[in-house]
């Protein structure tokens, strides 16, 4: 089952519609990472609203996607994890550490907007507030 990857402005949106096999997940990962560079996008949203089970391979793949996309210059956010799925995940110790997660697609877009704006400010105008003044 192929996962459609849509482009929306500067972001890529991968919307998972049904349960995926491990091979499908690997394929999604490769396709997303390839497209991040090709389309010069700044953010990736993976929508998992339709998933009612999340196993360790799926969680690892999502984490890999986030880390790989960051290396290619894009922020990743996972959206739409169901409450039951979330609780099952933490009980299994699958906590997606270091990966941004928000409630739904709308929040995901708002989150990426905030992040990409922040980064622009950081690199161009702002010095990190914690750095000591140089004399």
């Amino acid at each position: 089952m192929e996962v459609p990857i849509l482009r929306q402005g500067q972001y890529l949106i991968a919307s998972i519609q049904s349960a995926l096999t491990d091979a499908d997940l690997s394929h999604l990962r490769e396709a997303l990472i390839a497209q991040v560079g090709r389309s010069r996008c700044r953010g990736v949203i993976v929508d998992v609203t339709a998933l009612d089970v999340m196993d360790s391979f799926a969680v690892r793949t999502l984490r890999d996607i986030a880390h790989m996309a960051r290396l290619r210059g894009a922020e990743t956010v996972i959206v739409g994890i169901q409450p039951d799925v979330a609780f099952a995940m933490v009980q299994l110790g699958l906590t997606l550490k270091g990966v941004a997660t928000v409630l739904d697609l709308e929040e995901g877009l708002a989150f990426l907007d905030g992040r990409t704006k922040d980064r622009g400010l950081d690199t161009r105008f702002k010095r990190p507030p914690s750095s000591p003044p140089r004399g």
Binding site: F87, V99, T101, R115, P128
Partner: protein, 312 residues
Amino acid sequence: MADTKRSMSVSTRAADSPALSESSAGLLRELVAHLRQNRTQLREEWARRITRAELLTAMTEEEIFAEATAVYDNYVEALETGTFEALQAYSRRLSERIIPRGVETDEVVGIVLLLRDVLARSLFNKYQDNVEKLNRILDSYEPAANRIANTVAVGFVEERERIIRQQQEAIRELSTPVLQVRERLLILPIIGVIDPQRARQLTEQLLRAIRANRAKVVVIDVTGVAAMDSGVANHLVQTVEASRLLGATVIVTGLSPEIAQTLVTIGVDLSEMATVGDLQGGIEEAERLLADRAAPTLGSLATREIAPESQR
């Protein structure tokens, strides 16, 4: 002296058991007739003994006498018919009446055993000339008396447990509100004892509320929690993690000094948990997070701390 007689009866019972079953019904009839005949006197003796042993101190003497009469009649009836349903129902009703008045289990067991002693003593007096008959009477009386004592005690304890279950249920329903303070900010005040079942229920309610209210920040206030073991603490950590997966930051407030010491001593990993001293501070922190809409989750806070360093 009574003890030697009873031990004798055990040895004779083994020898003449076939004959016993035939006559035991007759003996029981005789026994019941004796108890009916001496009802007033035995009942008074029993009530006197209850007062002397300082049982049922929560009740007045008239009440004790009234209950004693009812128990006595039910007791004799159970002996006569060999059925315990009426007695069971009565002891349940009795328990319903006396539990709210603070009557303890040992008192209820105590008065039933006293009645058994009073009746046994009267049997000794009546048959003291005929030891052989006394033994046979006691043979048929003792098992029934023990079963009656059992029935009343079990009835009392069951009634008590039913009340406890009912109250637990009520407390559980009362005590898990998830409140929206303002848009995107929820408060979950936890009060009382957290057992694993309640912890699970709390988590489920919180996660649903996060989704329904589209919450960004949740303040969990544990000021009302007296103690926390490692199981509950780990559950709290899991709740924080699960909330993060739904895009909400959790701030825990009001950890008491005792709980703070326990958690560090038993080595629960709380490094992922944002904690603030009291509820007021927690809400202030939450408002600050909400104002800064760009950085809504702990995860993004963490990556953001790394980002400037790599850019330097």
